[in-house]
Amino acid sequence: MSFPNPTPRPEGELEQLKRIWRPPSGLGFLTVVNNTYIGLFYVGAAVMFFVLAGILALIMRTQLAVPDNDLVSDGLYNQLFTMHGTMMMFLFAVPAVEAMGVYLLPNMLAARDLPFPRLSAFAFWAYLIGGSVFFLSIFWGLAPDGGWFMYPPLTSIEYSPADNADFWLLGIGFIEISAIAGAIEIVCGVLLTRAPGMSLDKMPVYAWAMLVFAGMIIFAFPAVILATLLLELERAFGWPFFIPGQGGDPLLWQHLFWFFGHPEVYIIFLPAAGMVSMIVPTIAQKPLVGYRLVVLAVIGTGVLSFGLWVHHMFATGLPQLSLSFFSAASMAVAIPSGIQIFAWIATIASGKVRLTTPSLFILGFLFIFTIGGLTGVMVAMVPFDWQAHDTYFIVAHLHYVLIGGMVFPLFAAFYYWVPVASRRALSEKVGRWVFGLMFVGVNVAFFPMHITGLIGMPRRVSTYPADLGWGDLNMVSTIGAYLIGAGVLLFLIDVARNFRITSADNAGNVWNAPTLEWLPNDNYATRSIPIVASRDPLWDQPGLAEDVEAGRYYLPNAPTGYRETIVTSPVTAEPRYIVQIPGPGWFHVLAAAFTAACFLLLTVKLVTPAIICGVLAVFFVLAWAWQLDPGPTHPPVDIGGGLKLPVYKTGSGSHSWWATICFLLVAGTTFLCMIFSYLFLWLSNVGDWPPAGTALPALSWASGSAALYLASALLAWGASRTLAAGRLWTSQGLLLLGALPALCGALGVDGWGFWQAGLRPQDHAYGAAVYTILCLTGVFAFTLAIFTPFLTLRAAFGRLDTARRASFDVGLLLFYYTAGQALVGLLLTHGFPRAVG
């Protein structure tokens, strides 16, 4: 076999690699961006929140152990269960799987790091700071107490006048932003930084799962972001989206929340299933049976799970036919899950499984998750759900699904992958105890709840009367909960005893696993980046580890002298260019801290300090962005095998373009959800839309505004053309003095049209919806009002020219998108009422 770099590597090359990728020391360690460190911190923080939320659960279980207990007050109990659910979902489950992705993906794809390491560091810090303060709110009695689902009107200002609900809305809204940042990172990482040769059909199932996971975040989270925005607008400014007397509808929240909330379950499950699909072949020492079908199942689950949201709303009195569509979709999604389960069984059958701790957790997962899946099919049946809904049966079901489907695979993954990150593996002996306690605990805690629910115990009750006979079952559940707690405690002890973080001398490929994360690695990841020819390269390509370590493959060095990795094409994984990756820095850390501070200060209504923090956050984001887009600093470099790659790329092949497109998909989905909300509110006010006494502005306002939006897009296009033609300052003039004023003017004309027609957002849900649509465009106009002068500044400092235009292209896409979104908005707000009225 001929290698790209067959000759021995020169002296000093390895030292250079080490130096470039070394994390800073001392206080500067806070600025570290290497995925191996950020990923571990991220996992660690997620486990911390898991433990904290688990402690809250133990307090609840203690309260419920006996009837008529008064260990905690009703009010505190409500905070406890709200925080338990919220933290497990938003502070543990999603961040944990995202964190595992940040840690594992680059190694698994043989990239040196993710393409935007500072973005994942930003996501981590924002999450850690925001999440910690959010948790601490319970010590001030300020923790949210409206349930993790936060249904208005209970969470509206009238029934929750204190700041508790705002902690949820702003705190969680903020953590969602962090999750989306991570998702964009993962999409770009999986699609663009795979090892050469790792075409889509050779990609590890885990990478598929993470790709679908990230895609689902991009399409699901906007719904809940919009929902939190609407509820906060209602609470803070009285825009009545959910108040029935003023044209609002409490069910709008439920649609938006569950349009996020159901995919959320699969967002949590898919990465875990992806891990299982990695671990099962290793423990069986055979390739995964039915790779293609599993990939199909992963994609299929991702898509079909968007058609299930109403199955959380079967008891809301929607038409039976509407409910049935969702019942059908809920059944359909069982098929992809069946595919995966039988693929794992088949793989196990094809090999010989050793009962190590990871295997035990996998088997425990199969058992628990299957029960959860079967009860899931049961509650997907509408008549059954009318009985089971909002009872302990559901509590049992969802814990079987989430603990079985996510926690057990995660623990399997911990035991399985720790040797990559640690000098020592975790203890097999202790691991069996951990598994035993958790497995028995889960079943003792949650199985009786099926019965407790079926005999009538509702969820979310702080206590229950003695004469109903629910006491014994609850006591059993409480004992089970403590068993789980003991298992987790034992795990933490095991981690403390055996986990020794390392970048170089890790425990190695102890399981004889087939994928690339088991290659010898260091802070720079693998010494050289292999060419992949199979799905299980370490099994099918003998000697791969030695050859990689000897630098015989691509990019065994750092030819530009910076951190860099190979960008490959998304489908076939052919090397395209070398991307220079930013290293450690303070700006993203400060940006995260001030963004978190801004949101949290807003929560407690300290508006002035919040604005100051917000301005500082924007400043640090810009300072961070200033250092990005390095331009073609270096002539094309030879990475081996005569392959000369450029070190910079713009246009639709570049990683910044992909990231921007992902971001615009988030924005577009948010806007689509707003269109849905507008139409939904119309449906609640049929015949009164706009409400009596409200006039629509004359069409001339709409046409004037539309003309200006079009002009702004055209001027931006002109700016791009002139920049390509080398006329930098003409281009800047067109953008800053043409496109931007046109955009802001268009927005102003549109908004003023409604305002002078007498429409006010506080009067009726109609006005609130119209102005929110305007605001969603306003957010982009505001962003561009900051970003366009920023581009001009770059141009003035020689950081923007005909060749170095990646940041310009980002601005250009934003202009196009904003104009497009605004035009759709115009059509809706001016056209729809005329069409129906």
């Binding site: 009703d74 059958a349 049946m381």
Partner: protein, 288 residues
Amino acid sequence: MTVGGALILLLVLALTAYALLAAPETRGWLGSRRTILWGGIAFPTVTVTALLIYGLLVARGIVTPAVGEDVQRVEVVGEQFWWRVRYLDDDGRVLFETANELHLPVGRTVELALTSADVIHSFWVPALAGKLDMIPGRTNILRLRAERAGVYRGQCTEFCGVQHARMAFHAVALEAEAYDAWLREASGPAVEPATSGLREGRERFLQLGCGACHAVRGTGAAGVLGPDLTRIGSRQSLGAGMMPVTAENLAAWIADSQHLKPGNLMPPFDMLPDGEAQAIARYLESLK
């Protein structure tokens, strides 16, 4: 369905155990794509489709109203944290109002119009029917039918605030004759106090302004904010399912319901001198 689920679980477990433990030669057939095609695709497709059709048929049976049946119509309004119950005549006019208790005739369909005065609640009598949400601004229709006489417990199943756990009620199913008798009694005014002590209790009740929130038909107390008390002495429970209706419990409730059920809307009357709350409580307890 549960049995079916258990069978499927056993099947999966048996296959897993077989895959794990059987000799490599015998289990080899399982380790192929065929397993996925049959077990993971064909089998779920068939069972799920069958189950869906079955579920839809069951649901159709529940939601389709029986044509031409003489139904009793009742409006139930969820409030933080109790139930307002209004019996309606055939034209939808309110006959009378009561609280935290639903009487229904055995063998006859009762059509409940469910709505809410504040936040979202959910109406559920496990023994009689599935649950249905009570959503402000909407009215949901639930049809109930008790086949046997008896008292059935119900409870709010949508989290509705601090006292969600203590928002229960009772559905009392009566045979046709008993039901008609109850309906006649319940729609009339409250009983007159029989003794001077009870008359004194009524006097205190009215003078202290209890009628600002509560109604006792026939006395001038016509408040609409709190539960109607016209026949509170005959009810199954006090405080929406919390405790039996006795004079002691009523007195304790009057003196400090915020201690018994924090967050309900009734202010405490702990400033009343000894005996006064008891007098009112005895009067209320006599309202049967």
